[in-house]
């Protein structure tokens, strides 16, 4: 069986005054219908990896890869038309903060309809689908949210609407780029639970991009740890404590534990060798 997504030697670079700088430097992985986490600190290239898979590397940046296959289809030379078909129906992306990722002057309903009309025959059917999706993300009064503007919703509500919008076409792959980082801790768990259920029910593949190692280990099957644009370690989420790479160990150990104990908390010791 071909995997859902195959990535080999993915590189993303941006021009700077000192020539091109690579922010993703040869990332390779393959993904089935499972949950893969990409973990790393700010600037490690995890978000750009996610964007590159969608062909959304912001210009003047450039993404190249030795292989970038989605269900056997080569994405490297996809035409704009092919991208539109893929993005609208097969691959989706949930971003960090609904305050920015929702269009402020359009009602939630209109934004949902843009996604829904592409997969439905009639507008009425599309609207039913959109409302059903809002219900699926546990919004109690879907019609009210449908008519609301983004600024009238709280962060958690906005992010649920965003998830609903991205799951309307029932994609095969969802990329969630820090989907809960901008939310309150209590709301975070709620949104994660919703995401968890939808991904399981619909049998999607999930790439969960986060900087929160703990969160990821309880939520995903596999973890890629990125540092300075490279994958430094790949391991099963359940084996996180047995991480080999000192960076992963560092990330893991610098989290406070509720039982207390370690004081002061160790800070991350970086090694220039890792970035090679």
């Amino acid at each position: 069986m071909t995997p859902l997504l195959e990535v080999e030697d993915l590189r993303v670079s941006f021009p700077t005054r000192h020539g091109r700088t690579e922010v993703v430097r040869g990332v390779s992985f393959s993904l089935g219908r499972e949950r893969l986490a990409i973990v790393g600190e700010s600037g490690s290239g995890k978000s750009q990896t996610g964007r590159a898979i969608l062909g959304l590397t912001p210009p003047p940046g450039k993404a190249t890869a030795a292989r970038l296959n989605f269900e056997g289809q080569d994405l490297r030379n996809a035409t704009p038309k092919q991208w539109r078909d893929l993005r609208g129906r097969r691959i989706s992306l949930v971003m960090q903060d609904p305050k920015f990722s929702l269009n402020p002057v359009m009602t939630i309903g209109r934004q949902l309809m843009e996604a829904a009309t592409r997969t439905s025959q009639t507008r009425a059917e599309a609207k039913d689908h959109a409302l059903a999706m809002l219900e699926a993300v546990q919004i109690r009064d879907p019609l009210r949210v449908f008519k609301a503007y983004p600024h009238e919703l709280s962060g958690g509500m906005g992010q649920r609407a965003m998830i609903a919008m991205m799951l309307i076409p029932e994609p095969d792959l969802l990329i969630a780029d820090e989907p809960t980082s901008a939310l309150d801790v209590t709301v975070q768990i709620e949104v994660l639970r919703i995401l968890d259920r939808l991904v399981t029910d619909r049998g999607m593949g999930l790439i969960f991009i986060s900087h929160d190692l703990r969160l990821v280990s309880s939520f995903c099957d596999r973890v890629l740890v990125m540092y300075a644009g490279k994958v430094v370690e790949e391991l099963r989420a359940s084996n996180l404590a047995q991480a080999q790479h000192p960076y992963t160990q560092g990330l893991f150990n610098c989290l406070p534990k509720i039982e207390g104990g370690i004081r002061p908390l160790p800070t991350l010791q970086r090694d220039a060798e890792w970035a090679r």
Partner: protein, 354 residues
């Protein structure tokens, strides 16, 4: 969920939000107009022109001078003079023009429609060309079409308008004969059109005089394009920068991920957001045009407010100058109110805050 603060206030039995909004607009209007009156009044007192002398001429006897001095109320304390002035203005009395010896309000009623017509056609041209040009420049940032728009805008912004006007007249009127020359109508039509609104294009159309209508079009098209070009330069630059800002926002990525077409992303998502600040830009450009483009009106013998104001200034006709200033100020206030109202239509966030 943070739903609708205004709704809760409604439950508390306060005024409905639209009435509150209307009320606050009205108060703003009154305060601004009062300030405007104060400023024009002060200008009238400060300029070194003797209003009595301007009215009676320098050969009048001392007793005539004194009579007019009293009649104008110049012996009264200054605050009383101001109240008299406000009272007169509120009754539609802007004084009499020394130059035309007609009430200033009547004079302005004659010249302002000419300026209004010219500015309106100009701002329509400027907006309808400027916004798409700015959008194109933003979407094709750094490429040839961006450079073309930039250079055209730069020329429009920096070339003196009287020079462009003369060139335009020379080329399109004298050499090519594509358009009509100075004035609002050919002499032959001038007395056949009755005055309804004072807007030539509207009057001729209302009266069904289509010959005269097309004649008016051929007269207005050159000066209006020229002024329109000038505002187009500004509007396209602003559109470009607003669009670049919006196209870099995350909701654009969201739309792309949904598979929305590029055209809809540009015109439906980005421009829809950029339209909010653009309203102010267009309103300000329009306001500038309404002051009367003195140079353009002079070159094209356009009997508008700019020309009237210049003539009045030249002959120290203070009533006419102050009256015109007041009208221009009022036009600015009206435009600001209009853009405020448009804001509430374009931006749902403003709608809720009111």
């Amino acid at each position: 969920m943070t739903f609708d603060a205004s709704e809760q206030e409604g439950r508390r039995g306060a005024l409905p939000p639209w009435l509150k909004r209307l009320g606050s607009l009205f108060i703003t209007l009154v305060v601004t107009l009062f300030g405007l009156l104060l400023v024009t009044f002060m200008i009238g007192r400060v300029v070194p022109i003797d209003p009595v002398l301007a009215a009676v001429g320098d050969r009048a006897s001392a007793s005539t001078y004194h009579k007019v001095y009293l009649a104008l109320g110049l012996d009264k304390p200054i605050w009383e003079q101001f109240l008299i002035y406000v009272n007169q203005v509120l009754h539609g009395n802007l004084g009499e023009s020394v130059l035309t010896s007609r009430p200033v309000l009547e004079d302005i009623g004659t010249v302002f429609p000419a300026t209004l017509e010219l500015s309106t056609v100009a701002i329509l041209i400027g907006t309808l060309v400027g916004i798409p040009a700015g959008v194109l420049a933003a979407v094709r940032q750094g490429r040839l079409s961006d450079q073309v728009v930039r250079v055209l805008g730069l020329v429009g912004y920096s070339a003196p308008i009287f020079w462009l006007g003369l060139l335009g007249l020379l080329l399109f009127y004298a050499k090519l004969g594509w358009v009509s020359g100075p004035g609002r109508l050919d002499v032959g039509y001038q007395f056949s059109v009755d005055r309804i609104t004072g807007l030539m294009l509207v009057d001729t159309a209302l009266e069904g005089q289509w010959d005269a209508f097309w004649n008016a079009v051929s007269h207005i098209i050159l000066p209006a394009s020229l002024l329109g070009y000038y505002s187009m330069a500004y509007i396209s630059r602003m559109t470009r920068s607003f669009m670049l800002q919006e196209l870099g926002q995350e909701y654009i990525i969201t739309a792309r991920v949904k598979g929305v077409s590029e055209r809809r992303i540009i015109w439906g998502h980005a421009l829809r957001n950029a339209a909010v600040p653009l309203v102010t830009v267009v309103a300000l450009s329009y306001g500038n045009l309404l002051q009367g483009a003195v140079l353009t009106e002079t070159i094209f013998a356009w009997p508008g407010l700019g020309m009237y104001l210049t003539n009045s200034l030249g002959s120290a006709d203070m009533n006419a100058v102050l009256g015109s200033t007041l009208v221009i100020g009022a036009a600015f206030v009206a435009l600001n109110l209009l853009s405020d109202v448009l804001y509430t239509f374009l931006d749902p966030r403003v709608r809720r805050q009111q």
